[in-house]
């Protein structure tokens, strides 16, 4: 279909139209942190101030809390009612390339041997509209993980901010379909196309933080027994769940039943390997000391996930660096392992 464009001052009209028959989510700072909120009919100015969200888009597909089923004790035993998502189409507008990749990574996990109907149903019904980064944050290091701030094959439709307008390019059939339904678009010129490419290139150059992934798998393995290293890097960690919960690829959850004598529901919620009580419910947490828990987080991302699924479970979004109250920095930790 080629490149299209829309004037930024037309976004509001576009969003109002799109939200008529689907749920539209856009970046918003109205709650005191930046997250994807349902379109409020008003503030379409996120292109002007938005670096990335604090809470990643994973929360729209794998919500912090979700009721999975309801149960009721009847005459003939328990009746069970599955509580699947309602299937309403969703559009998530403004997803950054790192987060679009992160969704591809969690897709692998949730559609493995166990196919998670809750996550997958939402994913099937969603169209991801990406927004290229012209001004990466100080904490970004996506380029180390084979992601470009200016392009993405992981979205359905990619937008690039070229000044007064957003340039749009369909990446998938879903994106093509969405693009054909949008009104207020015009054709973009070749000049505008190359401007977008240029912006992508200069964004790449602005990223200075990095990790070195070459030979990392072996290095990770040999670091496992290096207790001194892990003790050193974990000393300041507070064992909270911030890094896990803001991470777009972290996906651990806990399940609990809430029972009111005759009926109740089964709920799952985010959980974190940083918590001392992690996995205590089914069994025991084998990682009593903090350094073992820290080691787990990085080994899971950079070793186990790679062994199981041939992908590193980090996209360089930098949220964990930004939000950690004591500034534990994944790039320092991986750098340290490479230097061992």
């Amino acid at each position: 279909m080629g490149y299209k464009k829309i004037k930024k001052d037309q976004l509001k009209t576009l969003f109002n139209e799109l939200s008529k028959d689907c749920s539209l989510f856009v970046p918003s700072g109205s709650k005191g942190y930046v997250g994807f909120d349902p379109w409020d009919g008003n503030s379409a100015d996120f292109t002007e101030w938005y670096g990335n969200t604090t809470i990643p888009p994973k929360a729209l597909f794998f919500p912090p809390v979700e009721a999975m089923l309801r149960f009721r004790k009847g005459e003939a035993g328990y009746e069970i009612e599955e509580l699947l998502p309602n299937g309403r189409p969703q559009i998530v507008f403004g997803v950054r390339p790192c987060d679009a990749r992160a969704l591809k990574i969690t897709d692998i996990l949730f559609s493995d041997t166990y196919r998670d109907p809750y996550y997958l149903k939402r994913r099937e019904n969603a169209t991801i509209v990406g927004l290229a980064c012209n001004e990466p944050c100080d904490t970004c290091f996506c380029t180390s993980l084979d992601i470009s701030p200016g392009e993405s094959q992981d979205v359905d439709l990619l937008c690039t901010d070229i000044g007064d307008e957003l340039l749009m390019e369909a990446v998938s059939d879903k994106g093509e379909d969405l693009l054909s339904k949008m009104s207020g678009l015009s054709d973009a010129s070749g000049e505008e196309e190359s401007k977008a490419k240029q912006l992508g290139e200069s964004a790449k150059e602005k990223i200075t933080r990095q990790i070195d992934t070459s030979g990392l798998l072996d290095k990770m393995r040999s670091s496992f027994e290096n207790r001194e290293y892990w003790e050193d890097v974990s000393r300041k960690c507070m064992s909270c769940g911030i890094c896990t919960y803001v991470c777009p690829t972290c996906h651990c959850f806990d399940i609990c039943d809430e029972n009111n004598k005759k009926d109740g529901k089964r709920v799952r919620n985010w959980d974190s390997c940083k918590f001392p009580l992690f996995t205590r419910m089914p069994m025991e947490n084998p990682r009593h000391e903090k350094w073992r828990r820290i080691r787990q987080r990085y080994h899971h991302k950079f070793e186990y996930f790679q062994m199981n699924f041939e992908a590193i479970a980090c996209t360089g979004c930098g949220r964990c660096i930004r939000e950690c109250p004591v500034n534990v920095d994944v790039t320092e930790i991986i750098g340290g392992i490479q230097a061992l």
């Binding site: 912090p64 300041k236 911030i242 803001v246």
Partner: protein, 316 residues
């Protein structure tokens, strides 16, 4: 100050007087500092003291085994003293480096003031009453006291009360209590339903990451009540009701221990104004029991003993 700290801390490690030094190092994000905890002399070169030393480090000696040399600001020192009162740390296991403090920069406020993300600020220096910044490569000057944490306007003990080495000369309090309590006053002025709605909205955001609890030096229970599940006090998952319950009980548990260091609010990734609860409790404890946190290390903790004069209106 920095050089003296490096020198003295180095001596302590070399002479085996402490096992660890707990101070501040340069962070990996613009302007930020990060806790520097080490038993290696060569790491001490990284110690810094500047207006960005936000973390309250007093939690670390509770966890570290052995003797600790620790750097504290005024508020942190009162947390540390409170931990001594609760017998979580022993005074004789600590060498305390006190920093007379003129306030610490609240990076969120700073971002608001300059109208840009902190990412754009590459350098900042306190020069007299001002903070001189490099924003996108150009120089910008703003009044220092416009960007410090709200707690700092209400700080009556900016010079630590308990220390072995004071790094610099005493600072006299520069109080603006009204400004410090502005948000709390606004909440007090609401009528009850309005205030309820406010907190309902705030706690709907909570994701139960427990950042607030885990950075708090007064939250030292070995097993927090939220993690107890037989019986279960609050749901393990986030609902606004249970989130609020969790935070209110936490507020009660840290009453008489909270030094208004503001770490909970700073840590909260979704921007819940937790200090408005905690500082309110500090006021209540002061009004009811005449107790100020972390003043006297030899006094018993306010809620673990009884005085005939303790208020008992609630029993009527």
């Amino acid at each position: 100050m920095e050089n003296r700290l490096k020198e003295e801390a180095g001596k302590l490690l070399k002479e085996g007087k402490v096992d660890y030094i707990v101070g501040y190092g340069k962070g990996t994000v613009n302007l930020r500092t990060s806790p520097l905890i080490t038993n290696k002399e060569e790491d001490l070169e990284g110690l810094v003291i500047n207006p960005f030393i936000a973390n309250n480090l007093s939690r670390y000696p509770v966890e570290l085994k052995g003797r600790v040399g620790i750097v504290v600001k005024g508020c942190d020192s009162r947390s540390l003293t409170s931990l001594m009162q609760d017998k979580k740390v022993k005074r004789e296991d600590l060498i305390i480096f006190g920093i007379p403090c003129e306030g610490v920069v609240d990076l969120k406020k700073l971002a608001g003031q300059i109208g840009a993300e902190i990412d754009r600020v590459t350098d900042a220096e306190k020069e007299g009453e001002n903070l001189t910044l490099q924003v996108d490569g150009s120089k910008k000057t703003i009044p220092f006291r416009d960007v410090i944490f709200d707690k700092c306007y209400g700080c009556e003990h900016p010079t630590p009360l308990e220390y072995d080495v004071l790094l610099g000369s005493e600072v006299t309090p520069n109080l603006d209590i009204e400004k410090s309590l502005e948000k709390i006053k606004a909440l007090d002025d609401m009528d009850t339903p309005e205030r309820w709605d406010y907190w309902k909205e705030q706690f709907s955001k909570c994701i139960r990451c427990y950042g607030c609890r885990n950075v708090c030096p007064a939250c030292f229970c070995e097993r927090c009540f939220v993690d107890v599940n037989m019986p279960q006090w609050v749901a393990t998952y986030a609902t606004w009701q249970d989130n609020l319950t969790f935070q209110l009980i936490r507020t009660l548990h840290v009453a008489g221990r909270c030094s208004d260091c503001g770490e909970c609010e700073r840590a909260c990734p979704v921007g819940i104004p937790l200090r408005s609860l905690q500082r309110k409790m500090v006021e209540e404890v002061k009004d009811l029991f005449g107790h100020e946190v972390g003043i006297d290390k030899d006094a018993p903790p306010v809620f673990s003993h009884y005085e005939a004069t303790d208020p008992d209106e609630f029993m009527k």
